[in-house]
Amino acid sequence: MVLKATPHITQNEALVFERSQTGRKGYMLPALDVDETALDDLLPAELRRDDDLEGVPELSEVDVVRHFTRISTWNYNIDLGMYPLGSCTMKYNSRLNEKVARIPGFANLHPLAPVEDSQGALEVMFELQEHLAEITGLPGISLQPAAGAHGEMTGVMMIRAFLDARDGVTEGDKPRRNVMLIPDSAHGTNPASAHLSGFSVKTIRSTSEGLTDLEHLRELCSAGDVAGLMLTNPNTVGIFERNIREICHIIHEAGGLVYMDGANMNALVGVARPGDMGVDVIHLNLHKTFSTPHGGGGPGSGPCCCTAELDPFLPVPRVVREGDRFAFDYERPQSVGRVKAFYGNFGMHLRALAYILTHGNEGLREATEAAVLNARFIAHGLADTYEKPFGSPPMHEVLFTDKRQSRKGVHTLDIAKRLIDYGFHPMTIYFPLIVQGAMLIEPTESVGRAELQQFVDAMKEIAREALEAPDTVLNAPQTTRIGRLDEAAAARKPVLRWKPEAKTTAA
């Protein structure tokens, strides 16, 4: 087995505040070129800052560059290799897209500049909307939501608004249909978004096959209070809900609407369209399927795509074409309103459009095929070694558990940490919650055969270690500059900011 990684000397680095030295400067401004106004004429003293920004660091430019360069080297990242976080679609973030987003005509454009002088930006948004509509099969699009959860909130609020419009708001303030059905396997943002939108959440069970339990669904629907269903498809165990048409039918029959969490669209683009399945509204994660960089936690972009029926309820403003110009349309009286100032994370729209145009229609499908194939490769490679809780062939991600290893006291967390020693970023762990010790592996299309094989080999090797030398796994990682951190202690007595007197070493 070729070793994927080896420890190498890496710089340590304190906090910026600890590096700071009085008098250092990392900036220079042009000299003030207007006649100076006396301070008190600018602003009365009692409204002025009086702490001289004490504590804010003072550093030279070199300090800044070294500080952030050093700490950056402690991060794993996509450019170093496979990043198989299930549900996260960590695919290659193209440099070309970064360049596009930095074209001055976009980067320097103020969101409130006159629309006639911002036509290029509106064109970008409009074109992206068109393509997303084609990809999802859902014609109504808003690019305003800033991330997946934000898109969920928008989408379920649209369901709320649609139902209210259709059914009327009965019984004073409390609307009639108030239940949002969510599978037990769903991502935490789904119930959180539903709750934020005023729904009460009921959980649908999954079958032993890892699919939505249709019987349970029907049962829940029979109560007559169902507003809708939030479903991820392929679901969070990586399996396509093959009864999707039926599911949608049941919900529709019960008077509800179907929200699809599009986090897993990387399994479907160019192959099948949510609109064709009966879905009413979906959000996409441009920062997953369409490769806009995750940036260590964000930004994302979570466009909402919906049927023509739901279109009037999308957030304002909408980007519309009027002849050969583009405009913002605010006149949507049924709209849920605004979910964010301005028009969404435009910089991400640019990148996603660049992704779609660079791939081309055939490339989009090719990426889907390659992503699913890679997941299958892993599923196949590990089938004999790890417990696969569900039999169905996985789509773009595959779920295993630590069932076999945990008998020896080695758990998912340990396996994940040991993968670090083998040079990999671990998979998503303990999600979805419905299986114990979940390990959700999503290689994406951005990994070549050799590295997939290395991953399979590493996982097998860890399984062997779990049997033969469990301590190696339990004490992992051993090759990182810092070991497992005591997260429980951190949460018990949280230190969330630096202070001059802060205790910075262990007791």
Partner: protein, 449 residues
């Protein structure tokens, strides 16, 4: 497709090894009737050259991006030191995920911890989170948090907060059982006023922006005293982060929650996003904060590191009972802001703020001296102020753009149909005196011709 490592031949080999005759078999679990039988009707692939040409052509149509600009109103043109983008573009930062595996994510985690600290320092608060989507959603989350903290259902919002922020808050609270009540606005001073009786024990919080949407600096201290007297919280919104370098911090004035837009900290205008929401509060409310938090942790050998902490507030643990539904935040933009604050540093943040204030004061003076133009509000301002024109502002600004190549400000009629002649002018350290003079002369000429 050049981003896919495995070649078609390799993929064919892999397929065969897995026992598949064709790639279509991979999708066997999808019912045949919903399988797409035709290629998507999106365009065919473009090469790099062609792609860049297309985007350059679209960018060229954004003529506003090439003009001196005096619009602020939630997005501000500040100088961003070159090092910021150069560091952001390290793949170690921009291609990393949320730091769920601390051993190989310490770079991101330490940067978040530094961001949180800087936000606390600037706002004058105790704890800050790892970011919200932007200022507007941060304000909406603050409203929801105030309800959680106080268990009261009514929130008084100043009529001088950014209209789009208000609109967002209305959407967020629509189904949360929270009622937003508009606080009064004094046209003469340009400040928020709490009308007699507006405040009582049903009020969870009062939300004010300072400098407010009209550029006026609010008397936060007085507001805080009034608000606290009723056991409510004071939520302070800041859209122009540069003001922190000059104005008394909201924390020092008594704010309980401070939310801000961080775009001023080295983030490009980029037609409205991605930006970054700042969210800070007092120590005692730490467990009610929405979003991620990084904190210090130690390993077995006592080495200091950082982890995401207090996760039980969050959706992935608490699901519908979470403090917010937010998951992905604005990590990279928070990093940009962190690098900005660090590079400008203690002195630079103050110098930028001082230059903004000075240049705005100059522009204010010069415009006020123009015949026919007045300044309707009397309260002190930072770098943004309302001008009342002798004619409809919209048309005036349009002519200013086309005839003088200056984006002269934002017509208030966009949000306030009742104020057709008013427009909002923002001046930052990037506006050269020559640009300000061009604006002033342009106003004079456009008006007099």
């Amino acid at each position: 497709m050049r981003y896919i490592p495995n070649s078609p031949e390799e993929r064919q080999e892999m397929l065969s090894a897995l026992g598949h005759a064709s790639v279509d078999e991979l999708f066997d679990s999808i019912p045949a009737d919903i399988i797409l039988r035709e290629p998507l009707k999106t365009p065919a692939a473009l090469s790099e050259v062609e792609l860049l040409e297309r985007f350059e052509a679209m960018a060229a149509k954004n003529t506003a991006a090439r003009r001196p600009n005096f619009i602020g109103a939630g997005a501000y043109t500040h100088y961003a030191p070159t090092v910021i983008d150069s560091l952001l573009q390290r793949s170690e930062f921009f291609t990393a995920y949320t730091p769920y595996q601390p051993e190989i994510s310490q770079g991101t985690l330490q940067a978040i911890f530094e961001f949180q600290t800087l936000v606390c320092q600037l706002t004058g608060m105790d704890v800050a989170n790892a970011s919200m989507y932007d200022g507007s959603t941060a304000m909406a989350e603050a409203v929801l948090m105030a309800e959680r903290v106080t268990r009261r259902k009514r929130v008084l919002v100043s009529g001088a907060v950014h209209p789009e922020y208000l609109h967002v808050a209305e959407t967020y609270v629509a189904h949360a059982g929270v009622e937003l009540v508009r606080a009064d606005f004094d046209e003469a001073t340009g400040r928020t006023v709490l009308a007699e009786g507006a405040l009582d024990k049903t009020i969870a919080a009062v939300v004010v922006q300072s400098p407010n949407f009209f550029g006026c600096v609010e008397d936060l201290k007085a507001l805080a005293d009034a608000v606290h007297a009723e056991g409510a919280l004071l939520v302070v919104v800041v859209t122009e982060g540069a003001s922190f370098g000059f104005l008394r911090s909201p924390g020092a004035c008594g704010a309980d929650i401070v939310v801000a837009e961080g775009q001023s900290f080295g983030v490009p205008a980029s037609f409205g996003g991605p930006y970054v929401g700042l969210f800070a509060t007092r120590e005692q409310y730490a467990r009610q904060i929405p979003g991620r938090l990084a904190g210090i942790a130690f390993d077995k050998e006592g080495r200091r590191g950082f982890v995401l902490t207090l996760a039980t507030r969050e959706q992935h643990i608490r699901r519908e009972k979470a403090t917010s539904n937010i998951c992905t935040n604005e990590g990279l933009i928070a990093l940009a802001a962190t690098i900005y604050m660090t590079t400008m540093g203690r002195r630079g943040l103050q110098e930028v703020a001082a230059q903004c204030a000075q240049k705005a004061a100059y522009a204010r003076r010069e415009i006020a001296a123009l015949e026919g133009f007045t300044l309707p509000h009397s309260a002190p301002t930072f770098n943004e102020f309302v001008v009342r024109a002798p004619a409809e502002a919209e048309g005036l600004l349009r002519r200013l753009a086309s005839e003088h190549n200056v984006t002269g400000g934002l017509s208030l009629s966009r949000y306030f149909p009742g104020r057709p002649n008013d427009f909002l002018v923002c001046v930052t350290e990037t506006n050269k005196r020559a640009e300000i003079d061009a604006l002033v002369n342009g106003l004079r000429e456009v008006h007099s011709s």
